[in-house]
């Protein structure tokens, strides 16, 4: 499930909140936001590893579960996932009549 192999471009970290399962994104001030647009973006492998270290501690502290890196595109201040999978995960199901998982 962890799809962070061979990532190259800018990356962010996502996870689920442990207690309620809500999809969250790691922010620049080491908080977790339900909005993908709040994500901290790592431009290089070292920064990505640092973000994952923060996420690993949050997992150990039982704030989140199953954190992983995913590729993002950055346009100005807008951060958006590149893959269909991560886009759907960030915005919620594309099935119209259902409430989205989290605010995109």
């Amino acid at each position: 499930m962890i799809k962070n192999k061979n990532l190259t471009g800018p990356q962010s970290v996502t996870a689920n909140r442990l207690a309620d399962g809500v999809v969250v994104f790691l922010t620049a001030d080491s908080q977790w936001s339900p909005r993908v647009s709040d994500s901290a973006v790592a431009q290089d492998a070292a920064t990505a590893a640092a973000l994952m270290a923060i996420a690993g501690k949050a997992a150990a502290d039982r704030i989140v579960v199953a954190p992983y890196l995913f590729e993002v595109g950055v346009e100005g201040v807008v951060v958006r996932p590149l893959s269909a999978r991560e886009s759907i995960r960030a915005k919620g199901p594309t099935v119209e009549e259902r409430e989205p998982a989290s605010l995109g």
Binding site: G21, A84, R85, G92, P93, V95, E97, A101
Partner: protein
Amino acid sequence: MYVYDGYDQTFLEERVAQFRDQVRRRLAGDLSEDEFKPLRLTNGLYLQLHAYMLRVAIPYGTLSAAQLRQLAHVARRYDKGFGHFTTRQNIQYHWMKLEQVPDALADLARVQMHGLQTSGNCIRNVTADHWAGVAADEIEDPRVYCEIVRQWSTLHPEFSFLPRKFKIAITGSPNDRAAVRVHDIGLRMHRNAEGEVGFEVMVGGGLGRTPIIARTIRDFLPKRHLLSYLEAILRVYNQLGRRDNIYKARIKILVHELGVAKMAEMVEAEWRSLKDGPLALPAEEIARIQAHFTPPVYPDSPVFTPEFDALRLSDAGFRRWLKVNVAPHRQLGYAIVTLSLKPEGGVPGDMTADQMDAVAALADRHSFGEVRVTHTQNLVLPHVRRADLPALWRGLSELGLATANIGQVTDIIACPGLDYCALANARSIPVAQRITQRFSDLARVHDIGELKIKISGCINACGHHHVGHIGILGVDKGGEEFYQITLGGSEDQNASLGAIVGPAVPNEVIVDAVQTVIETYLSLRRPQERFLDTYRRVGMAPFKERLYAAA
């Protein structure tokens, strides 16, 4: 219906208390995720793409109205007000909160429901013909044996850590509605030359990345040997099934590698040491379980009433519904009614809590308080007086559950796909929705006739695409959703695997491609030929030609 005794109920309550403590320890940090994951999976709790998902077992697809009301309650209280019926007669809740799951399980336990055997490498919830006990063509009610298998298999210590998950399905009719040939073990009840009822035993069927039709290893197994024979099969598998490679771990690979004759020989050898031991089923025990499945006492009811006749003559919609959503019942004056969870533009298998409550009320009024769940993601009211059909049709129409499309082009099986599933490569539900919108004219749908479209969002094939008359498999091509089309699959007593037509097509054209396949069929069919008949007669070539000429 089977009702838990004190032993079962106590066991279930103890399991809920145990899981409550496990969740508490997880949230308190006494259990890591690695430690907790197998514990939550044992209780049917997954972590999916967006949230926790709770899968609740509906053994052999039989529900009481009271249980359906409790499923509605769980949807409303702990989820977002809806549930999703799956291709294994279960229900899934897609938006659960870990901290609330113990309360949800406690509420489910009050109506004898749980998430056991809906995950993990164990013997999964046993499935059956959704018309069990009422079908006009049935030899014997398979649920009696499903329940016996359930009691034997639940938390079976020897079979709790199998090489891989293990699925058993049982049909009591010659016309297979339980897809037994695509299960790890399929059992078909039939009569031998002496008139005794027993089982044909098939093993090694399955879908996924290596689809295989099950092979028969025993033509006739007497009922009293059911458990010992299953145990013999499981033992051979448990010892020889591959644990080194998850993709080769199912029993179908073992059967394929050993050969069916060798597999049968090993099972028979193992069975000889088991057959007359403690697993032999005494006739009294079979009778005791059978008593739970005694059909209701059906008061006499007319086959036709003036209201029924008048509505049938005057209303084409009612006629269409009678034709495909209503089936013959073994009791004269009664009918089996399928509720379509496939409205135009809907999500296959989804049902709101309000709909569940309303169907529970209809079940109480018209079906002796009993409901069935089908592996095709619909519901069934199994005991409806034919005289009640007009009233029921109106009631179901108001609820959006009377779409006259059962077994037709828009009665699509679709897995949750990339909209919900962490494993998926592409979306399934929106493709199903678009097909139902393209084929929204019911007159046209009925002209096309029986046609089963099945859609999976990845190779794991939860949407059974391999056995769809038209199968659709979502694939990821460089981050884009593409769909591979297969033709000629079937899951019934003449089971076959679909063949790939050609290269996968992009998301934008998949519905056009399906339409092209259907139009090709319409141009080729002979009178009375269903899609599958035409395909089997003419083969792939004309479909392939039209599909890729158009592209």
